[in-house]
Amino acid sequence: MLKKFDKKDEESGGNSNPFQHLEKSAVLQEARVFNETPINPRKCAHILTKILYLINQGEHLGVMEATESFFAMTKLFQSNDPTLRRMCYLTIKEMSSIAEDVIIVTSSLTKDMTGKDDNYRGPAVRALCQITDSTMLQAIERYMKQAIVDKVPSVSSSALVSSLHLLKTSYDVVKRWVNEAQEAASSDNIMVQYHALGLLYHVRKNDRLAVNKMLSKFTRHGLKSPFAYCLMIRIASKLLEEEAGSRDSPLFDFIESCLRNKHEMVVYEAASAIVNLPNCTAKELAPAVSVLQLFCSSPKAALRYAAVRTLNKVAMKHPSAVTACNLDLENLVTDSNRSIATLAITTLLKTGSESSIDRLMKQISSFMSEISDEFKVVVVQAINALCQKYPRKHAVLMNFLFTMLREEGGFEYKRAIVDCIISIIEENSESKETGLSHLCEFIEDCEFTVLATRILHLLGQEGPKTNNPSKYIRFIYNRVVLEHEEVRAGAVSALAKFGAQNEEMLPSILVLLRRCVMDDDNEVRDRATFYLNVLEQKQKALNAGYILNGLTVSIPGLERALHQYTLEPSEKPFDLKSVPLATAPIIEQRAENVPVAVVKQPEKVAATRQEIFQEQLGAIPEFRGLGPLFKSSPEPVALTELETEYVVRCTKHTFVSHMVFQFDCTNTLNDQILENVTVQMEPTEGYEVIGYVPAKTLVYNQPGTCYTLVALSEEDPTAVACTFSCMMKFTVKDCDPNTGETDDEGYEDEYVLEDLEVTVADHIQRVLKPNFGAAWDEVGDEFEKEETFTLSAIKTLEEAVSNIVKFLGMQPCERSDKVPDNKNSHTLYLAGVFRGGHDLLVRSRLVLTDTVTMQVTARSAEELPVDVIMASVG
């Protein structure tokens, strides 16, 4: 049963750990007895245990001392004590990357692995593979092949699993062992069969056809091992997912047939695979849900747990599919296993009717204090889903959340609550004020910096728009007085946002900011000084540009550009427009039933996809003069069917006045090599093809890339949308698939690809303006244009909104992509940056009568972007 983590337990348990106060130097000193003869196996095994304990506690061993102990340990191979020998294997594995010259034990290990004692053989294989690098692998290859087909299951399994590890570094060598692995795959031992199939799969993983063959071969003959079945199910569902769509496939039939397997493990795996398939229909789900329903009344707690946990997930996407199980779930509400009970209740919350909410919530509060944080998060997710389904219930549910927020809990749990409250606030404007004031109360005593800064940010954003903004100031300023620097900096930014939007409050905000200028911390001081200076100008445009809507460029990109500028000083001032934009995360779908806690924080500094492209393209001499990369299309477009001779996918890269089309091509014919591959393009509009960068060779199954460079039309700069017909041209050389021998002579050939569309969205980068109104005023109406259209083919406002967003490729602001229920007019605010670096804002007023009428207003600091929008909409 799950117990709440208890700090006292850990402390009192301390005495029973004999290794608690180990000292590294003392232990290494002790290790010198390894050099003595005769060997005392018990004592030596104990010392090895200590060394392993230290390493696993994260103690750092220097190379010298580790190597010394390692060599001393090698002498223990004299002893034939089985326990001591096993400890040696463990030590070898742990030290293999710390000590030097660990290959010294190679012969000792090969001797054990081919020796008579079966207890030594498996572990020796594992240790041996751990110390063997790719240069030494050839020397032990013979032994590995033998071990894989060894009659003793533990030896064979060890060899298979070790091969899997070796695959990462020495693919080409391990690949040669598939015949042996194939033999092992028909073993009667369930583990050996499982491990063998695992290895075979990983060797072939990148070859779809081979994986398919393997699946159908093994599933046709049936398998002994339930583990192997589970693996096959996982592979099959992965393939299905990649295939996208068509369930009319033998893969799905296979998974479904596993629902009738005699092993519960396999049945569960199959059910779980089916419910996790994207876009599963009710009919496909039904059999999976009914086996899970059966498991709900199993006497085995693990099965009940697995079933209810999976049903819980299904309930998020397909609540109606789970209603059939409501009776069984009700029975689990009182399960003595609290984890099962929690999951049952939260599942019911998702599937049950509005009227049952109060009862269930009461039931769950009765044991909330007994369950672990992990399950509390599940409860929070269920509440979040409920709020979306029954907006009328949000008062009851919010109260529940506030109580939870006040209680003890770890970071993940608190974050889930805060996320949930925030999303409720965003959905229901009536709940905003109560929500904000509870959050204010929470940050008065909040130990999690991330949450405090997040809430401060929210206060800065939402607070000024409420009826009584001044009441938040006290809470925010308290942070400046009481907290550490990260939170103080967040509080300063929040204060500035109030000052920027509210003239009455400005004088007092200025007073508070002046105090912050004396702060001990650089960041806090810098922010205060900066905001103070901006606010003192009392100019709306400045406030909008520097306080309310922050920088939209990519920060690492800015750093690089500035660095470059300092390296090559020039007369011209630094141009912010030359910096690549931060690619706005696509968050539209979040409002659906995605559980809040699952929305991951973006990685901090990892290079984005676009930065990687920028670097790759920058390395090609032909593209040197194009300037910074403005935008890369978010997903490659397939220009061929999936299962054809050649597979080509295109990514579009937009520069200031050029586009580069990147074609990733794969040759799936093993009897051909393609050389000098280009994709010839023929535009319908004013674009002009300037040149090709060919892929030199395309060998079987190894992707290669070629590029086509085009210039944008100078005569008609508004004609940005265009269709290109594409044709792949290349020289074919035949080759022998077995030997790889290639003919010297080749012949020219070509292959017709599908047409490629360039749309207005390829020229606009989405950018989020947290305060759209301020940005709108900042840009001004100098180049404003407005026109009205009828969208005759569209029947609802939602449809209109999602079509416009998709078509223009701009970022919806102020959550205007959500159309409130029962309204017949709506305004959509879109922000973006047009190729060349100018902000582009679009306001689209939609009115629903029989059809949808749309009034589009576009603003930018330049005329061209506005014209492009008007030309493309009209």
């Binding site: 060599f71 002498k75 004299q78 290959i103 010294i104």
Partner: protein, 186 residues
């Protein structure tokens, strides 16, 4: 097992253990020699180049030998020294048909003899001038000249010509070594 072994085992007597390092260039026949010294049921048929080292045991009438059969390849020779301290005797094997590398063998021997862990100890050293069966093998006298064995003054040493494949000459060497070890004990 000989009669004495059986008796000793039965009486719970244990033979004195001796640690021996088996050194020499790669391919000189170290592993083959040690294998031949083991009881016939423990011998392997298939000898492959040693990587690192391997520990082998064999017994004589009065002693129990634990041999560290080291790899002789260039890159592993630097690792021999890790095992010097515990060694109580050395078997040094020379391929008597490999005239080309005789100087290399001499160099390694000199380095060994000058190593601080070896230099001032009276370790017995047994040399096998191995592969005497080969046509272009030189005599054991010639080998000891080429290696300047006469310069070793502070350690007892002995050289035997051997053919490890047939096992010839090995017993003579081991008998000498056993005698030395027993002399030391007293």
């Amino acid at each position: 097992m000989g009669l004495f072994d059986k008796l000793a085992g039965w009486l719970g007597l244990k033979k004195k253990e001796v640690h021996v390092l088996c050194l020499g260039l790669d391919n000189s026949g170290k592993t083959t020699i040690i294998n031949k010294l083991k009881p016939s049921n423990a011998q392997t048929q298939d000898i492959v180049p040693t990587i690192g080292f391997s520990i082998e045991k064999f017994k004589t009438s009065s002693l129990s030998f634990t041999v560290f059969d080291m790899s002789g390849q260039g890159k592993y020779r630097d690792l021999w020294e890790h095992y010097y301290k515990e060694g109580q005797a050395i078997i040094f094997v020379i391929d008597s048909s490999d005239k080309l590398r005789m100087v290399v063998a001499k160099e390694e021997l000199d380095t060994l003899l000058n190593h601080p862990d070896i230099k001032h100890r009276r370790l017995p050293i047994l040399f096998f001038a191995n592969k005497m069966d080969l046509r272009d093998a030189v005599s054991s006298v010639k080998v000891s000249q080429l290696l300047s064995l006469e310069n070793i003054k502070d350690k007892p040493w002995h050289i035997c010509a051997s053919d490890a494949l047939k096992g010839e000459g090995l017993q003579e060497g081991v008998d000498w070594l056993q005698g030395q070890m027993q002399a030391m004990k007293t």
